[in-house]
C-alpha cells in the first residue's frame, strides 16, 4: 500500500503489520494526551507533586532523556568535527533519537510541568541571567531547532519527497552545511547538559545538591556533561540493536557499534573518576560545613547508601570495565548488558539529584515526606515514550536511516 514511500532495496513489513505494531504506542500516546490535557485544563493538582516534591517524575524523566539523547550531538561531534567517518553509519538514528528525546522533554517541560504554560515566553522575555534554568531553556530551545534542521534533510531523503526537485536540492544543500550545525549543536548541548547539572549545584541552601565549583559553574555542571556524553552513545547503540532485533536484520556494522561502545567506556571511566573525586570533596567540604554528616543524607526512607553504591559501582564501574574491554564488546550479550547498565546508572544519578535533594529535609525538625506519581504523571511519561517509538518507527520505515542496510543484508532476502 505504501511501498512507493519505502526506501529502495530494503525489506519492511506489510502495512497491516506496521499498523498493528504502532497501535499499542498510539494507545499509550492517547493516554498521555488525555493526561496532559487534564493537567492543562484543571491544573497541576492532577499530579501528586507537592510543595515538598516540586520536581518529581517528570523532571527525573526529562533529565534522563536529555542525558540519553546526548548521543545525537556527541555522535555528530565525532563524525563531523573529529572526522570519524565510520560513524556516518549511525549518525541518522542518533540525530532522530536526539530529536525525540529533546522534543519529548520540551513538550513535558513546556506544556505539562509549568504552572502557567501560557507564560512560557516570560523565561526569554524577563530572563534572569543568573538562573541556570534560563540557560537550560535558551540552549534546549536553540538545540531543538538545530536538531530539527538536522532532521529535515533525513526526511527529505524519503523516496516520495525526493521526486520533488526543489525539495531534493534543498535537502542536498542542507547536507553540505551539516558540519556547521553539528558544531553549533555541540556547543549548545555542552552548555545545557552542564546547566542542568548546574541547576542543582547552585542550590546552596540544599546541602545534598550544593557543590563548590569553578567560577560560576558548580562541579555538577561538568559532571552532567561527562555523564551525558558517556551514556548517550550507549543509548544510541541500544536503540539500534532494538531496531535490528525487531526488524530481524543487521543495520549497522559491528565495528561502528564497537567504536561507539569503546568511546563510551572511556568517557564513562573518566566521568566516574571525576564523580568519585566530587563525592569525596562533597563529603569533606559542603557536608560538614552544613553541620551534617554523610550518613545524614542516606538514612531517610528507602534512600540508603545502596543508591550511591549502585550508581557508582554496579551501574558505573562494572559497565565501564566491560565497555573498555574489546573482547567483551565483541560479544553482543555483554555489550547490551553494559549499555543497559550504563544508561541505568545515569538515570539513577538524575533520580538522586532530583528526588533525594527534595526528599531530605534540611531543617532538623522537618519530617520526611514520600511521593508516588499519579496516573496522569505516568500517562504523560508513557505518552512521551510512545511518541518516541512512533517517530522512530515511522522514520525507520520510510527513511533511509541506515546507509549500510542494503549492503549488510545482501543475499539474505
Amino acid at each position: 500500500m505504501d511501498s512507493a514511500l519505502i526506501p529502495h532495496n530494503v525489506n519492511r513489513c506489510s502495512t497491516g503489520k506496521f499498523l498493528l505494531w504502532t497501535s499499542p504506542w498510539l494507545a499509550l500516546f492517547a493516554w498521555g494526551t488525555v493526561s496532559a490535557l487534564l493537567c492543562l485544563a484543571l491544573g497541576l493538582n492532577q499530579t501528586n507533586m507537592s510543595d515538598i516534591f516540586v520536581f518529581a517524575l517528570w523532571i527525573v524523566f526529562d533529565l534522563a532523556v536529555i542525558a540519553l539523547g546526548a548521543g545525537a550531538f556527541f555522535t555528530g561531534f565525532l563524525t563531523y568535527i573529529i572526522g570519524r567517518k565510520e560513524l556516518k553509519d549511525i549518525i541518522y538514528p542518533a540525530v532522530i533519537i536526539g530529536f525525540i528525546c529533546y522534543s519529548g522533554a520540551m513538550i513535558m517541560l513546556g506544556v505539562a510541568d509549568v504552572g502557567q504554560p501560557i507564560r512560557g515566553w516570560f523565561i526569554f522575555w524577563h530572563a534572569n541571567v543568573h538562573s541556570m534554568l534560563v540557560e537550560v531553556s535558551f540552549c534546549i530551545t536553540c538545540y531543538l531547532t538545530v536538531l530539527s534542521i538536522e532532521y529535515i534533510p533525513i526526511i527529505l531523503e524519503n523516496r516520495g519527497l525526493k521526486k520533488i526537485r526543489e525539495l531534493d536540492i534543498f535537502g542536498h544543500s542542507l547536507h553540505h552545511i551539516m558540519a556547521l550545525f553539528a558544531a553549533i549543536g555541540t556547543f549548545l548541548s555542552f552548555f545545557h547538559q552542564g546547566s542542568l547539572g548546574g541547576m542543582f549545584g547552585v542550590m546552596h541552601a540544599r546541602p545534598f545538591a550544593a557543590r563548590e565549583g569553578f567560577y560560576i559553574w558548580p562541579w555538577t555542571f561538568f559532571l552532567f556533561i561527562f555523564s551525558a556524553i558517556a551514556a548517550g552513545p550507549c543509548f544510541t547503540i541500544l536503540c539500534t540493536r532494538l531496531t535490528e532485533t525487531l526488524g530481524r536484520k543487521k543495520l549497522v556494522p559491528d565495528t561502528t557499534i564497537q567504536l561507539l561502545a569503546k568511546i563510551s567506556g572511556w568517557l564513562l571511566s573518566i566521568y566516574l573518576l571525576l564523580k568519585i573525586a566530587d563525592t569525596i570533596n562533597w563529603i569533606y567540604g559542603v557536608v560538614p560545613r552544613a553541620g551534617q554528616t554523610f550518613m545524614d543524607f542516606y538514612k531517610q526512607g528507602p534512600y540508603g547508601v545502596w543508591l550511591l553504591v549502585c550508581e557508582i559501582f554496579v551501574f558505573g564501574i562494572i559497565p565501564a570495565i566491560i565497555l573498555m574491554t574489546p573482547k567483551a564488546c565483541k560479544n553482543n550479550g555483554w555489550l547490551i548488558t553494559a549499555c543497559l547498565m550504563n544508561c541505568t546508572g545515569i538515570v539513577i544519578n538524575r533520580f538522586v539529584f532530583v528526588i533525594l535533594t527534595l526528599a531530605i529535609p534540611v531543617m532538623p525538625f522537618d519530617r520526611f515526606w514520600s511521593y508516588t506519581p499519579s496516573w496522569q504523571e505516568w500517562g504523560v511519561t508513557f505518552g512521551i515514550i510512545a511518541f518516541g517509538f512512533l517517530v522512530f518507527s515511522v522514520s525507520y520505515r520510510y527513511l533511509p536511516l541506515f546507509p549500510r542496510e542494503k549492503e549488510l543484508n545482501e543475499g539474505k532476502a
Binding site: 504552572g115 502557567q116 516570560f122 541556570m132 534554568l133 542550590m203 554528616t293
Partner: protein
C-alpha cells in the same frame, strides 16, 4: 541637581520562642490579611498554603524530661545565596525575574503575574517558605461561603493557579504607611507604623517587627541578645528573621550540628 538620599532599611522580625504558646493566631491573621486560599479539605499538608507556618518541636526525651516548643516560620527574606553574593537562594534561581530582593527594604518580593510556575525557587528554599497554587482557589472551588469573599483584602492581589506565593512581610502595609507619611509631609515612617499582621495579632507579643538597621528599633536591640539565633544559620543565607530562646535544645534544633559540636550563639 539635588541628590536625594534614601536611607536603606532592612526590615526584619524577631520571634521569641520562649513566649510563643503555639496558639496559631499568627497563621490565621496572616492568611486572612493576605487572602491566602484554602480548600474545604485541608488535610493534605503537603499542598496547603501557610505563609506563616507553625512547627511543633520536641526535645525527644522521655517523660518527665520531655519538652515541647513551637516554631513559627515566615519567609526568612534571605539576603545571600550562600556564596557571598547579594541574592537569596530563591531570587538567584528564578527564571523569569518574578522574585526580587528589594535593596531598599530587604524584602524578598514575589510578582505573581510574572511567575511561570516552574517551582525552581521552592526547590532552592530549605525553609519550605514558598507555596505553589495547585488549585485555582478563587475561580473554580469557591472556598468561601456566600458573601464571605467580601472579607478579602483589597490591598493584596489574590493569586491565580500555577504560581508560587510566599510571605511578603505584609508589604502592602509598608505601602500604606508610606502613603500616610507622604500625605503628612514626612519622608520616613515610624516604627509602629509598619508592622506585619502576625506581629500585630500575636497575643503573647512574641513577634516583634521593625528595621534591623535602625538602632532605635526594638528588633535591632533584641538581635544582640545572647539567646538570638537564626534558622539554618550556617547555610549563610543571612535570614532577616531572628529567633530568641533560652533553651539550648531549641537552638540546637534550629540548625544542623556535627556530632559533639557545641551549639553556637549568634553568628555573623
Amino acid at each position: 541637581m539635588e541628590e536625594i538620599k534614601t536611607e536603606k532599611h532592612k526590615y526584619g522580625m524577631v520571634i521569641d520562642l520562649d513566649k510563643c504558646t503555639g496558639c496559631g493566631t499568627c497563621m490565621v491573621a496572616c492568611a486572612s490579611e493576605n487572602n491566602v486560599t484554602f480548600r474545604a479539605d485541608e488535610s493534605d499538608k503537603q499542598r496547603s498554603i501557610a505563609w506563616m507556618q507553625l512547627y511543633k518541636i520536641n526535645n525527644g526525651e522521655k517523660f518527665p524530661k520531655n519538652r515541647t516548643s513551637y516554631f513559627p516560620r515566615p519567609c526568612m527574606h534571605c539576603e545571600e545565596d550562600g556564596n557571598g553574593k547579594k541574592h537569596s537562594p530563591c531570587v538567584s534561581v528564578c527564571v523569569s525575574t518574578a522574585t526580587t530582593l528589594d535593596e531598599s527594604t530587604g524584602i524578598v518580593s514575589q510578582v505573581y503575574t510574572r511567575c511561570v510556575g516552574c517551582r525552581y525557587c521552592q526547590a532552592a528554599c530549605p525553609y519550605h517558605a514558598r507555596y505553589f497554587n495547585w488549585w485555582d482557589g478563587y475561580k473554580y472551588f469557591k472556598p468561601f461561603p456566600d458573601g464571605m469573599e467580601r472579607s478579602l483584602s483589597p490591598e493584596v492581589s489574590p493569586r491565580m493557579r500555577g504560581v508560587v506565593e510566599k510571605c511578603t512581610f505584609c508589604h502592602h502595609r509598608l505601602m500604606r504607611a508610606k502613603d500616610t507619611a507622604y500625605a503628612q509631609g514626612r519622608r520616613e515612617i515610624e516604627e509602629e507604623e509598619y508592622i506585619t499582621a502576625c506581629a500585630e495579632a500575636c497575643p503573647a507579643r512574641a513577634i516583634v517587627f521593625g528595621d534591623l538597621n535602625n538602632p532605635d528599633h526594638k528588633v535591632s536591640q533584641l538581635i544582640k541578645s545572647p539567646n538570638a539565633f537564626r534558622l539554618l544559620e550556617r547555610l549563610n543565607t543571612k535570614p532577616k528573621v531572628y529567633y530568641l530562646s533560652s533553651k539550648e535544645w531549641v537552638r540546637r534544633l534550629a540548625d544542623n550540628y556535627l556530632p559533639g559540636e557545641p551549639v553556637s550563639g549568634l553568628k555573623g
